[in-house]
Each structure stands twice: as C-alpha cells, then as structure tokens.
C-alpha cells in the first residue's frame, strides 16, 4: 500500500501508531529507570534520623565541642567577647560570602556550625588559620573567621549554620 504514504501532509494511521508507541515506550522506560536511579538516594532509615539535643552547660568560654549529627560533625562554640567583637566589626565588603554575624547566631555567645568545609567536605581544624578564633581546613587551605565565614582560600561559601533552636538556657536541639 505505498500509495497511502505518499500524502505526507495528512496524518495517517502509521504516524499515529509511531507516536503512540514511542509515547507509551518512553513512559515505560521512565517507570523502570526511575526506581533504579532513586534507590541510590538516602533511604527511609537515614531520613528518619531523629534530631538531637546538645547540653551546653559544661562548655566554658572559648571552648568548643564537636557532636555528630546526621553523619556530620557539628561545632558548638562558646565564643569569647573578643571573638564576638571581631566577628561583628568586620566590614561586609571584605567578605566573599557577605553575611553579618548576627544573622549566623541566635545568641551571640553561641556559634553553631556544620563542621564541613564548603569546598570539598573536610573537617576544618579549630583555632588554626589566619583568623583568631576561627578555623582552617587542612585539605586545600580555606580560612574561616570567628563567625565561620570564609575569608581566604578556595571554599565558595561560609560554614553552614544548621537548623537548631534553644530549648532552655543551656540546651539546644539540632534538626
């Protein structure tokens, strides 16, 4: 029946079947591929990890503790007055990722940070680097200040502040 296909302007039975088969096939392939791709995302048990509470009463001024939260270290630091004033008086124009100190803390004495360098994920070392009361990442040389903001080195953004709230004067809840 070749004469049926000569009229290319008209949509014919074969065109319909081609489009319909392709469409159904694409949906079918997608339905098979998606579970195979999505199984690699964090599973229900990982997502269900409860939030944790951190007791602050034993941390002295200038001290810092590290807690493990969702597989990552979280720094909880009780800053000294000098560290707070240093962090507050920085000119925002100097910063790579400008953010005032008061946007990064709930109480200026307590700095809570995800202890993961925003460059390639190493754990920065406390009290090292060119900024007093800050952090230094040993992997690729990023320097963070006493507010956890990136000041020098390859990291693109400031250390992340996790979701947390004060559930009492000396206790925070992470997550």
């Amino acid at each position: 029946m070749p004469e049926n296909n000569n009229n290319s302007d008209k949509t014919n039975r074969r065109d319909f079947l081609t489009v319909a088969t392709t469409a159904v096939g694409a949906v079918g392939v997608g339905a098979v591929v998606w579970p195979i791709v999505n199984q690699m995302n964090p599973d229900a048990s990982v997502k269900a990890l409860a939030s944790i509470e951190v007791d602050l009463s034993k941390i002295k001024e200038g001290q810092e503790i590290t807690v493990l939260w969702r597989g990552k270290p979280v720094f909880v630091k009780r800053r000294t007055k000098e560290e707070i004033s240093n962090a507050e008086k920085v000119d925002l124009k100097e910063l790579k990722d400008p953010q005032p100190d008061n946007k990064r803390v709930k109480k200026s004495e307590w700095l809570v940070l995800v202890g993961v360098c925003t460059h390639l994920g190493c754990v920065p070392i406390s009290g090292k680097g060119e900024y007093a009361g800050g952090w230094f990442c040993p992997c690729h040389g990023s320097h963070y200040d006493s507010s956890g903001r990136i000041r020098k080195g390859p990291a693109p953004t400031n250390l992340e502040v996790p979701i947390y709230e004060f559930v009492g004067d000396n206790k925070i809840k992470l997550g």
Partner: protein, 433 residues
Amino acid sequence: MSDKNLENTNTEYKPVHTNKVGGSPFKGVTGWIDNRLPIFRMFKYEYLDFQVPKNLSYLWSLGGILMICLIFLIVTGLVLGMHYKPSSSEAFESVEKIMRDVNFGWLIRYMHMNFASFFFIAVYIHIFRGLYYGSYKEPRQLMWLIGIVIFFLMMATAFLGYTLPWGQMSYWGATVITNLFSAVPFVGESIVTWLWGDYAVGDATLNRFYVLHWLIAFGILGIVIFHVIALHIVGSNNPSGIEPKDTRDTVSFAPFTTSKDLFAMLIFLFAFVIITMYAPNYLGHPDNYIPADPLVTPAHIVPEWYFLPFYAILRSIPDKLMGVIAMVSSIAILGLLPWLDLSKIRSSVFRPIWKQFVFLFVLDFFILMYVGGMPAEGIYLLIGRVGTAYWFLFFLIIAPLVSLIEKPLPMPNSIHEFEQWKKLGKIKTFKLF
C-alpha cells in the same frame, strides 16, 4: 496480493549465506571447531602471523604489560572479594583479617595494592610513548580516544578501590572526591547526596562503591578489547613514525615481539616483586591504617601518588567550580591532541622543537606530582600555578603553533632505511635501554 502481481514482479534473487562454516586453515578437531567458531584462526592471524614494525623499542612492550597488570588485578581482586565485607562497621576489620588470618591474605592484598600502582606507572609510560612518537595521529585517533576513556575508568576504579579499606585516607579521599560534584551549579548538592545515599559518606556509600569498583574493573577489560581490536586494524606505530611498506620493515608478532615483550614483562615484574616484598606500603599512606573517623580530617590529606599531578591542578585554581573543571579538562584535553597537533610527522625524532616541549611536559608532570603532595600554600601554590599554566599551554598553544612553524629534519622513506640511518649515525633516537 494476487497471483497476478507476483508474476509481474521482475526481481533478480540474490544468494544469501546464512551458513558461513568453512575457511579454516586448520585441520582435524581444531579445524572442525575453527570452522564453526573462528577463534583459532583469529589467534593465528592476529597474534602469530600478525606483522609489526621491526624497530619497536621496549616502550612498545607496555601494552602487554598493562594487560598482565589488569589480569593480575582482576584475579587478586576476585579472591580478596571472597574475604572482604563492604560495610562501614566491618570493612576495616575484614581487611585486617585478610592481612593477619587469611592464608596468604597479606600477599594477595599487597599484590592487589601494588599492581594498582604499577598499572599507573605502566600507563603513564604508555601515554608518554604515544605522545613522543605521535601515536595519536591519523589513523590512530580513535584508538587514542579509547585509551583516554580507559585512563578515566582506571582513575575511577582506583579511587573506588582505595575507599574500600575504610581507613582515614579512604574516608576523606572519598569525601573530597565525591564533593567535586557539589561544584555543579544548582543540582550539585543533590548529586552528592544521591552518590552517598546519605548526608555524608557512610555505609550506603561504601556498599555501592564496592559494587562499582567491580563493575568498572570489568568495564575496563571490555574497553581494552576495543582498544586492541582497533590496534589490529590500524597497526602499531613505531619509533620512526613511518608506516611499514614491505616485509623488510616488519617481523611476525610471534616469536619476535612476544619474546621481547616477555623480557620486558620480567623486568617489570621484578621491580614489582621488589616493592611488594620489601616496601609493600611505600606507595601508600600510613594514615590509611587508622580506621575511618568522620569527626577528624587528617592534617595532610593527599591522594594516591598517581593522582597527585591532577590534584595539584585542582588546588592551583582558587575557585571551586573552575578548579574541578580544570582538573577534569587537564585529562580530557589529551583527547583533542590529534586535532591540535597539525603536523603530519608522527615521531618526535624528526621534530626538534616539539621534542623539547614534550620533555618539558614530562618534567611538568613530575613537578605537579611533587607539588600535589605538598601543602597548598606559599611557593608550592605558585609552582603549581605555573605548572598548570604550562599543562594547558602545551596542548592549546604550543601543539598547534609548533606544528605550523617547525621545520622537520630530513626523513627516510621507510623503516629499514630509518634503521640504516641510525646505524650511520644520521639520526639520534631516544633510547630506553
């Protein structure tokens, strides 16, 4: 259709041959099998009678050596897999169990570790050979590209394998390398979480890395077969870069090339045994014998020695995304070389200017390797930046420019004439031994 239509069709029928049995040069049982499955004749034509240039140096033995490395890696990996447990709570201890309790476990693991390193030693010499003698040029461009794919896969599987012992370097190496994907705009973080199966490198990550380590290892084997098939179509290059013309220029693969390759393999394996027996951890890092700790990053985190030049390129760019792009392109750019080097002359023997830049490139490779192992500060950062600049200049500017302005040395007409010129001292060649 009616009968009438059938009668009217004026068709000439072409014969079909669905049955291709026959044509074997062998007799008896071998011939019977070969007529039905032509593996014996393939072996005869491609490995016994196969003609190769008669002037191949030991640098052409690296292909065979790499094949031996790959086979040893697969065999030792297979048996290690029978004792290893890919879970974050058991991995480190199961590796220690292999080292202490499993019969010859220490030997098998040290062999697997050091064959990975020696695989890279051999592949770097192999790539240098291609670079120096212009093996990437017409008609071997596709073979060169397949080779670069193999190199990428080698790096991937080496990285995944290094994660498996779950020591400190395993853990933090995995963290840093997977975080490279977070440089991708917008979807970077989601990609990294997807790769991890968690919000940090963890149990799910280790388990899938184990599977992928196997998968890619066999993927390499498959693509190596393509590399070799392509080689048997385009034929081997040689130190003169001149294609063989008649039997004065070639020898049979067996016994000439096979015996030469065998000798080279013995030398290579000798070096391998010395390292494996006397300094099995020399090429590794002591921190990897500390169990993985997600709270503490080692003070000096360095990748395996074979990644150092590319790690130096990553670190010499102060921007995260650009650093990652520079690192990946520093390898991918090798694939453009057949189209950047416009000279028709393959061998550097006849290219006095290009030759100098190739040696400078090799020096740059070692300098970057040294810098990659040093802290990312001060003078090392500066040297790393100069080295990175030369790496890209070499491909993008020097290769096309030199090929346009260089005046090549006079060339012989054939391989056997090339050999005569060498004896007469008219050509100076690069000699390995």
